[in-house]
Symmetry: C2
Amino acid sequence: MFNLENYHLKSSSFSDALSARELSYFKEKAERIEFKKKHILFKEGSFSKGVYIVRKGKIKIYKSNPNGAESIVYIYKKGDYFGYRPLLAEDPNPVSAAAIDNTVVSYLPKEAFLSLFNRSDTLAKKIVITLSQEFSVWINKMTVFTQFSVKERIALSLLILSKVYQNNEEKKVIISINRDDFASFVGTAKESLVRNLRHFKDEKIISTQGTKIVVMKPDQLHAYLL
Amino acid sequence: MFNLENYHLKSSSFSDALSARELSYFKEKAERIEFKKKHILFKEGSFSKGVYIVRKGKIKIYKSNPNGAESIVYIYKKGDYFGYRPLLAEDPNPVSAAAIDNTVVSYLPKEAFLSLFNRSDTLAKKIVITLSQEFSVWINKMTVFTQFSVKERIALSLLILSKVYQNNEEKKVIISINRDDFASFVGTAKESLVRNLRHFKDEKIISTQGTKIVVMKPDQLHAYLL
DNA sequence: ATCAAAAGTTGATAATTATCAACTTTTGAT
DNA sequence: ATCAAAAGTTGATAATTATCAACTTTTGAT
């Protein structure tokens, strides 16, 4: 059975894992940073110098291939944290990160993060669990890429992006992503993406507002995925 | 630059992370089990009851889609350990596991593993690092599936499988895998796989011994990957 | 509100890959 | 060593997807 939970990361709050004391340490050490749309936070191959927690806006994690084409691995939203994994593994970043729109993040430098990680059992445990859960998500996504058609991948991506662009205050979810990024997320050519979106629009499964997308009938998208 | 290290898991010994005392506990609790070719160790969706360490033979980790098609996520060899991740996350297995040939494993039941994990700092650290490293590998593999052609994926898979089937005693690496499994590993149709293998054989990049494959010119395979 | 640049869309076509059916080779039990 | 079953291979063709070029719509600065 198809279950969307297997394809996108649950938002798990970083600060929920901290005690009051750890939280005040975090607040003391963390820095608020704003990034303009398209700003590159770090590049593939570089070493992580800290952990980012998204406060506002979306940040894409992607890999570039030698032809310059991009493959978007994930899009982080408010509350998500990232950049800690290569830090723990002492590996270079396998991906690059860039702001999709104007964003605000909390930035916790490496030393402060590691200090928290080492002293807080709940944080370490939380991170192991987060890592393990993310694992299942990646494995599932990988299977989708190898076995699903472009249309199926687009249907799934619309459902995933609905979650990413969900806003607690608003009932209607407006997916605001440009076609190049969307195509990179799906792993297809922009033109193929657009043709399929048109098809979904003709079927009244989605509607558009300018270049923004609203999913009208998520159930019908589920139906494409068996 | 292309680096094979980014696409296959380094073999990291489980027992290396244990002290002499922990090792004797491990040996006391672990059980030796033999599995016949094609035996299914566990199925996707089930809950892990312990950790497996491969002693002999190969074990494939795969996902089945509703049409019955298989997608092989990874092939574990001697020394590799698996099954611990869903155990830590308390998640169901995202994949199934089956013996490719007749295999021998050490099996450490859940309770014993968790007890070791909780008491041994080095093991916990080792597992976090292993997990983090595996992460990069999956992300890289995912990118390959979305951006590479079938021929490129086969070239890469031949290189990965050369590592998997490498035997320290023998210089020549003999890849012994059936075409269905190979195709599932690459994410293509068996016929497409075979046609590309023929092409590589005509170019004298690989040779075959019955249904077994020997890579003669790994450099030429690298060349397909830029 | 205007308008040039950027982003998105469509059509035509080529390239890639999957599917089906027939055939050949290999494997492994006796 | 034999031989049936299983596995592997090839050819023909259909389906899917990418690419290129022309065109249309949207965006955002003034």
